[in-house]
Symmetry: C2
Subunit: 204 residues, 2 copies
């Protein structure tokens, strides 16, 4: 396919595809058609074919997509073929739950540090990770941590963002219910749990 800008929506779906292909591998399936995959994921098949075709042709006509090779390719596209370290800011209940969440490792994502500003928490451990003081944000760069999960109260979110950007963080998963304004452009993904639940009654 001649070059066309890759839609953000396509990127958003790639982790889903990757998870599906990883699962298929454990089922010892060698290939899968876009039709079958679509049914598993609740999409339709042209969607999947188009998404994958943005990155070149890696299916086989008449057969489908090779499970192992496609998984590897998606990992490469998403830069998940090597471990990506993330810092968690905010060791509250939500933050703590995330550190323990086993789902990150299958994407090669590693929560390598946890920071909080509550003196009572600092030094305590969550699983294998020791909670550090928030002022240690400045050490993230040399520790090769470029991703952050922001799970602090709304009041602290903006200030923390500024510090994260100064510390060389390149992407933020924002779980606090407010719009962040980074000094330099940084990819931010917002997840506002209460808002999402708040949408449901409309559709009842």
């Amino acid at each position: 396919m001649k070059y066309r800008k890759i839609p953000d929506e396509t990127i958003r779906r790639l982790p889903m595809y990757l998870r599906a292909f990883s699962l298929l591998r454990t089922e010892a399936t060698e290939t899968i058609s876009s039709r079958q995959l679509a049914q598993r994921l609740g999409l339709n098949s042209p969607q999947i074919r188009k998404d994958l075709s943005y990155f070149g042709a890696f299916g086989t006509r008449g057969v489908g997509y090779p499970v192992e090779a496609t998984a590897r390719r998606i990992r490469q596209i998403l830069k998940l073929n090597k471990v990506q370290k993330a810092v968690l800011i905010g060791a509250g209940r939500l933050g703590t739950a995330l550190v323990a969440y086993p789902g990150f490792s299958s994407f090669n994502l590693d929560i390598a540090a946890v920071l909080d500003n509550d003196p009572k928490k600092i030094g305590k451990k969550i699983g294998p990770i020791k909670i550090e003081n928030t002022d240690r944000i400045s050490t993230l760069k040399k520790r090769d941590i470029r991703l952050a999960i922001l799970a602090v109260p709304a009041e602290a979110a903006q200030k923390t963002t500024e510090n994260l950007v100064k510390a060389g963080i390149r992407g933020i998963l924002n779980l606090s219910p407010c719009h962040l304004k980074p000094a330099r452009p940084v990819k931010i993904i917002d997840i506002d749990l209460a808002s999402q639940l708040g949408i449901l009654p409309y559709y009842m």
Copy 2:
């Protein structure tokens, strides 16, 4: 405006607007222009005007939107003007964090029940709520609970969904990393935390 289908994206933004208007009320602001609001939320102003105009004209030209009345109107549109009860299925770390999360109440959302299938957890309390056995799903209808937050392991998600639908649940916030197939059509919102974090490296 003559009738036009209301975009899902508009609905998705309404909780954000509602939160902003609620906050403005505490700041004793009486009106706000689409421009000012857009800046706070990181949107642009025609977006906000169009979104709100789908539900009728409730701003004042030359002035802006009345804070109190607009908040009330949005609450009404989203059916958040009365308390909406939700059940949490899965009292793991993530589930427990959600029950304690204070952000739901500002939308009139109330986690009124928590269910889990681990005998060791049943009977224990999370804050004021006692954990019940999962088989009590069947009691949700008569307890006027129509929303569910699904925070169970992937293996249990599909089966639980089927039971929820049977029990009259009308909307599901799905936190498990899999595609649910409800027997009857039910609004499902998927939040896959690991996938979202997995997107970030691509943009670095």
